[in-house]
Subunit: 168 residues, 3 copies
């Protein structure tokens, strides 16, 4: 949970970042959300901008998701609750994380971009959500910690509900 | 064909495994099925569990595919036969193998997981099959041999026919 | 722009090729087409064969695209022009480049194949184009230059218009 910088940012390879992102995707595909949230720092943000304003300031405009750590934890609790949620029984998801690029190396953090396809199956309905993840990653003793994750959907509109009931 | 272990399991990198899996996918995309089957050991199994019971014991429950080597060879012969099969003229397929992870290193074998999207086009119809491959791989002189391949579809149901007429 | 060979072909790794192809895909996803065209040599060709004749000689048969450098530059100008084109406002696209394989190392160039999924969203309509890129790449001081790019769609037919209004 601590953000101890175990390795210099300069030494990190794309292969290491991929190992971490593939692990994250597997946790999400397997609905191991309590483990997933442990990948984040305490001061993290997770954001999914509205599809018509991907570059907007999330403090000023509407976002599909804009969570700090506590809100993210509560989102996970809701997603796992049997009685109350659109995701129970939860949908099956399968993620492809591709085109991973280290776009900037800062003093203590890496900026990383990666494209995604999340395939989602529920009650015989097959949907796909595509777009680009933007990460700020801190090197940790084992892997990385996520300080910021922003998932920009490439869709110009979502289906009728206009919302997503799971984590990208 | 022999399972000579040419390299220690401990030295294998994810990049080497990807080289092999990308080669396998290209053989399948190109319908070079006789070469594909040579990637397997003589004691291999290839399994596609039914979509409602991915973790079931294939000896006790129904699977979409559960082949040992001889059955797999006969499946290939059927798939290539002009007269008798739904796959002639065969569909066009294009595979993405992503999120490759070495999940366990045993004494003589590697366990590997990878997500897939198989896009299939036939007579203007575009379908996708998504899910996760589970491999048991033996290091060989040139690449690997597959002792077990289990392809778990993430679909909660398949289209009306409820069957797949090609190899994932 | 010059094709100075800065590194021997024999030393190039798949990881380096991926870095380059992921960069190319990001330029296309971001519609930075003027930068994209600078990735090509002056004697380049870019080809998208008709879907019913992927192996045909492009000089003798119809192709969806078969551009030399000057035509490619004019295609880019058309794609960016507000008034005249089906792509303004342009569609949103998100590319996955996967299964990258170095298939041949020549004296001065690499042959590379990679599978693609291009997801395209426009006015609420979601389409995907899948297939295989075939590249001839020249090692350059920083990355590579593309001498030939041929994008073979795996579709047996395209949608009603039978044309693609953007670059794969």
């Amino acid at each position: 949970m601590t953000t101890v910088e175990a390795r210099p940012v300069a030494d990190v390879t794309r292969a290491e970042v991929e190992d971490f992102l593939f692990h994250e995707a597997a946790l999400l595909d397997d609905w191991r959300l309590e483990e997933w949230i442990e990948l984040f720092t305490l001061d993290c943000t997770y954001e999914v901008p509205a599809t018509d304003a991907p570059d907007a300031d999330p403090g000023l405009t509407w976002s599909l998701i804009h969570d700090r750590r506590t809100m993210l934890e509560q989102r996970i609790i809701r997603l796992k609750k049997p009685a109350a949620h659109a995701e129970f029984p939860h949908s099956q998801t399968s993620r492809i994380i591709g085109n991973v690029r280290i776009t900037e190396r800062r003093a203590d953090a890496l900026l990383v971009e990666a494209n995604f396809i999340v395939s989602r199956m529920k009650a015989g309905k097959f949907d796909q959500y595509v777009g680009r993840h933007h990460y700020e990653l801190l090197p940790a003793a084992d892997g990385f910690l996520i300080r910021r994750k922003k998932s920009v959907l490439a869709h110009d509109r979502l289906d009728p509900q206009g919302k997503i009931s799971f984590v990208l």
